[in-house]
Symmetry: C2
Subunit: 344 residues, 2 copies
């Protein structure tokens, strides 16, 4: 592990994307989002993505020099065509369009098509919260979940995130996918020879299973059964169906077809909380809200009650002060990419 | 069971609310929402609510002659003061304000305070969908869920609903609460002497339990653990914290303090889909979306894959044609209320 400052890691990541064909400005924007993911401790969605994004950039499955365009449908409603850009570039464009419109209009909705994996949602939510905007942000994704009661993968484990600003403290940040657990957790159970709860996944025929091996051949189960299924569908309807992007099985696989555009879609819904009351009012309510939750005695004294976002924001504080730990293999990869030395 | 036409049931329910002190116009609006709940088969949120709403109306815990006011914060953002009206009256007001604004602005957000239980969400979503609006609608509720890892009830089982219009077929309608199961399901398990999965509820100390008896003394668990906890908090932040309503433990109990205003809050987010593409385009995509899901072979041949809303909308078709079945006790209650004969 090596600890890098935010600036060091951003510059290094930017260089990698410049070497992959992006303009310095675009590369900076993408690096910004991925480094924020690292600051939150979301390493699976952080700078390690240089590798997978890079793989597609090199075979032109992602467009390194896009012309992202914005269509104004109404004063508060916008469509963005990502021109198959790197996802975080489209995400940042959507966020900026939405913030500008919501400032005056009170609310803005931006729907994006022709995009790619846009990183985790919390970075966007935090940037918006810092400017006083509450957010609902979502994206569709490659299919990994079967319809509730179905027997093959037809919908994605769509990420959905929320933010609420706090003028004098930590904002509320929630960033979740729709499956009960990530696939990695099932792989870990398999490796350690343990069984899994039958609420995590189904076998290849769509039947809930306690065998991690069968689960790895099957499909992730959504939270709350039919409820999470419905939620995941709704995210895809906004992010994919209404945006003009691909949806459900129309989303091309990231792995199988690296040279074909995925045509992913995202949505950004922003609400200007500064028009609802002054910052004293909001800060007092946010403080009280968190205090009520923290005040509930923990069932396990080792695990106090938290408000979503606390873990990530505390980690960010730590990393900004003490540096961001980066795995040495990953650091080497970034250094190689930044010099234009890519794997075969 | 007696079968009533939609008109018969609406008129009877309207009469009951007029007898409880509402104006004929307001009573009609409330009846309209509760009868739609019956049409969807959501009997727990239907005309049986005349009894509980009536109980509070009679002790002035709900205001029968409210002056609901609307504040325009920005062209797309509104605050509604419900003046402690019957919830569905506030809900319909919010919906109408939102539809009017979203028609021109593309999007509208309405946040309501000083309200009460506003019925199920699907009626609002359907009315909006019929006019071309996609919806996200939520409300907070009396506390029944402990914070994730906590040990006492500090948040409500907040309902959250979504709708997406379909110009040539059934809209998408999702209406869910945040608990894995409703309390009634745990009561049923207790009555039949069965154990329950440990994902449904905790005991009084916040520890997950398989005993329905201990669960009834404890708290409902949210879907996906910390995910559902976060979702329920977010609903309360929009519906309660940002709207200016009560939130978390500030929400007064419906049962313990029937004469005190609950100060519940709601939010309505509407997106005008007619500005995104023409109706042919949307109808084709909605048809294709549903077809992809229906086409997944059912794991259990008796339970084909469905799209959220199908069950309710099919029931509505049936009931509109063949009448709405109403339990005889409930019918008698409605008839008594409509004549001003209330229980002691």
């Amino acid at each position: 592990m090596t600890k890098l400052s935010k600036n060091e890691l951003t510059t290094l990541t930017q260089s990698a994307f410049v070497a992959l064909g992006l303009s310095p400005e675009d590369a900076r924007e993408v690096a910004y989002v991925l480094v924020m993911a690292e600051l939150f401790g979301l390493t699976t969605h952080g700078v390690s993505r240089v590798e997978s994004y890079g793989e597609r950039l090199r075979v032109k499955g992602i467009n390194p020099t896009p012309n992202i365009t914005v269509e104004t449908c109404a004063p508060s409603l916008f469509k963005v065509d990502g021109d198959n850009a790197v996802g975080p570039l489209v995400g940042m464009k959507c966020l900026n369009v939405a913030m500008l419109a919501a400032k005056a209009q009170g609310v803005a909705v931006v729907l994006a098509r022709n995009s790619n994996h846009f990183g985790p949602i919390s970075p966007y939510s935090l940037l918006a919260a810092e400017q006083g905007f509450a957010t609902i942000i979502g994206s569709n994704a490659t299919t990994t979940i079967a319809p509730w009661g179905g027997s093959d993968a037809r919908l994605g484990n769509s990420p959905l995130g929320f933010g609420v600003p706090n003028p004098k403290g930590q904002p509320f940040l929630l960033d979740m996918a729709m499956s009960v657990v990530a696939r990695a957790k099932i792989r870990n159970a398999f490796k350690s020879g343990q069984s899994i709860p039958d609420t995590w996944a189904t076998d290849a025929k769509g039947v809930p299973t306690t065998s991690p091996k069968d689960a790895l051949d099957g499909f992730l189960l959504p939270i709350g059964g039919h409820k999470g299924y419905g939620l995941a569908l709704w995210v895809d309807m906004l992010a994919g169906l209404l945006s003009g992007a691909a949806y459900l099985t129309h989303v091309k696989s990231w792995l199988d077809e690296p040279d074909l555009p995925q045509n992913l879609g995202h949505f950004f819904i922003l609400i200007n909380t500064q028009l609802l009351g002054n910052s004293e009012w909001l800060a007092q309510r946010m403080h009280d809200f968190a205090a009520i939750l923290h005040d509930s005695e923990a069932a396990d004294p080792q695990k106090p009650v938290i408000v979503p976002g606390e873990i990530e924001l505390n980690k960010m504080q730590d990393y900004l002060q003490n540096g961001i730990p980066i795995d040495d293999d990953l650091l080497l990869l970034l250094q190689n990419y930044s010099k234009g030395h890519f794997p075969k």
